[in-house]
Symmetry: C2
Subunit: 358 residues, 2 copies
């Protein structure tokens, strides 16, 4: 079923995205629908779709816009949400996730997209793509809704690792600004280092050290450094890139998401409360939907693994076609801007003579 | 101006609250107005009000409900928001904050309330009240709006210290459950330990150790242990007490507050967008105000310093009369339930023979 004509077509002048079609909560139908949306919006992209050919072929055949732009690469096995990363690394060779990463490792595609198990995706990406020279800890970056003009801040790390020393935090700043430049078109990103206060004397020792390291690189690496920022600045407009360790970052974004959900549920109840409030919700419907879209995580769906030889975009496990499509759009932009080459060059340029690439 | 009759009246059968009347953003008028609200709502409380007598006396004289229930104790100096804690500890003897804490140190009042500089308040409280036996790191606990029946979770530490080891986290669990029992009337609080995943193998080493320590105390200390929780559970209903270190906790609550503010601003804009949406906001006004009250930080205004010989309630610096009154209500409940004695007994009971009280 792997049509050779498709394969050729996909390679001819197209930006090729490697997509893990299995493993999301919504199944391959949502992934194919997301590819279809992206294909309509962007005539320059094509796909290698990894997964069960028997399931995927009929789904792809139904989408005319995917014709000649979507190769199916069969993978018999699937990484499930409950699988342990260590196990997937040992025995996951036949999975669609492995196959999707493999297409990046061989250089066929620059970026892979998956809705699957985050831990397994990170572990496989690390083992198969390997770290860039100068990067000790790769990071997961997300876009967090903010009051900035662009509507979002880049935040990293949000959970690739539970620790980060001062040197890692400097690398996160470099990788995050590279991502902001190439993924969000911010020419000179403003970097903030997350802390419990904005005074220079506050916080943990490694943060004070990281403060100096990041400040000293701001000129040569072409970013602004706004210094320490606080939790409230993640959704604010003081910085474009928020740098923190993966433990703090993970807790922070989940706290923010949880709080937003709690308010959303409260609003729904408030609007159901009386006939008047039900009428109100109808009248305000358009405005409320506009707000919802602005802070909808599906629109910025995609944690990005940074610091590897190749880029991997992690889409929400529960992503529907809109979510998958947003992740693919991000993947295409990063691929077209040759993001990872620029990131690698940026990190390499800051290595001092004392340091050995690791 | 310190009327002896007032002083006597305040002591006769009343719960005496020591209040730092200066140092909040809104000035002493808001603090006195808050005392006045509390005095109307609760006939059993009385106040020692610390600050500039010349400013305070006319404010108190205007409030009939404070007559005979409010002693003014003159303090010439004020701790400002920009003062460094170390400096206040050395030279702050004449400040209203010092005086307010002193009334707790001498046993005159069980609880002090201040809207002032958090760092200075914590430093002064530590130095003057000293740590309880068995407590290495005191903690600041806050109530965070949640989908629990009580509407809030207790979370600690949110910034007394940037670090906490496994043993500290166990103490936080004990102090937090004591607070939930006495401040929130939850007979058997459910404790969750904040982590980046709920699986037992995840997270930092000290968290796995703390997991075992807390689990082993749950029977003897009369709480449930729900294990690891994530950032999303801070506003959820999985636990009543969320235990974490002061760095993570501080970032988390500020991230949540920031996100809530961003959504609130977005809602206001949405409702201003068109004539229809403006009409909608009028129709839904009552319901929206109900929601706002539910998640209003002023209602649960009051971080509480736990682990000292005496309780100190930190009210928001920007607290108005409603906010101050909420902090005073909390202070009164903690005082009436003899909370700090119970907390001290609870922590002391879990000291093993290997440990030396510090």
């Amino acid at each position: 079923m792997t049509a050779p004509t498709d394969h050729t077509a996909a390679k001819a002048g197209h930006t090729l995205i490697s997509v893990d079609a299995m493993g999301g909560d919504e199944g391959p139908a949502a992934v194919v629908a997301g590819c279809s949306l992206s294909a309509k919006a962007n005539p320059d992209i094509a796909f290698v779709l990894h997964g069960d050919e028997a399931q995927l072929a009929p789904l792809v055949a139904k989408r005319r816009e995917l014709e000649g732009r979507c190769e199916i690469r069969h993978a018999a096995d699937v990484v499930r949400m409950e699988d342990k990363p260590s196990q997937v690394v040992r025995t996951g060779k036949d999975t669609s996730m492995w196959s999707a990463i493999e297409a990046v490792r061989t250089g066929e595609a620059a970026v892979a997209v998956s809705c699957g198990n985050t831990g397994a995706l990170m572990a496989l990406s690390m083992i198969r793509l390997k770290k860039l020279p100068g990067v000790n800890r790769p990071a997961i970056a997300v876009l967090y809704p903010s009051s900035n003009p662009q509507g979002f801040n880049v935040m990293l790390d949000v959970g690739a690792d539970v620790r980060a020393d001062a040197d890692d935090l400097l690398r996160f700043a470099l990788m995050g600004t590279s991502y902001a430049r190439n993924g969000m078109d911010i020419a000179r990103p403003r970097v903030g280092l997350l802390n419990v206060g904005t005074e220079e004397h506050k916080g943990r020792a490694e943060l004070k050290e990281a403060y100096d390291l990041i400040r000293d690189q701001r000129e040569s690496a072409g970013f602004e450094f706004v210094g320490f920022v606080e939790g409230g600045d993640i959704s604010g407009d003081a910085a474009d890139v928020i740098v923190t360790d993966g433990f703090t970052g993970n807790v922070a974004i989940k706290t923010g998401e949880g709080t937003a959900n709690m308010i959303g549920n409260g609003l729904r109840e408030a609007f159901k409360y009386s006939p008047l409030s039900r009428l109100a919700s109808l009248l305000a419907y358009t405005s409320l939907m506009r707000l919802r879209r602005r802070i909808d995580p599906r629109r910025v769906n995609g944690g990005v693994f940074l610091g590897l030889n190749g880029t991997v975009v992690k889409s929400h496990g529960a992503a529907d076609a809109t979510g998958v499509s947003a992740a693919i759009r991000l993947a295409a932009q990063l691929s077209e801007s040759r993001f990872n080459d620029k990131l690698a060059a940026r990190v390499a340029a800051t290595l001092t003579t004392e340091e050995t690439p690791s």
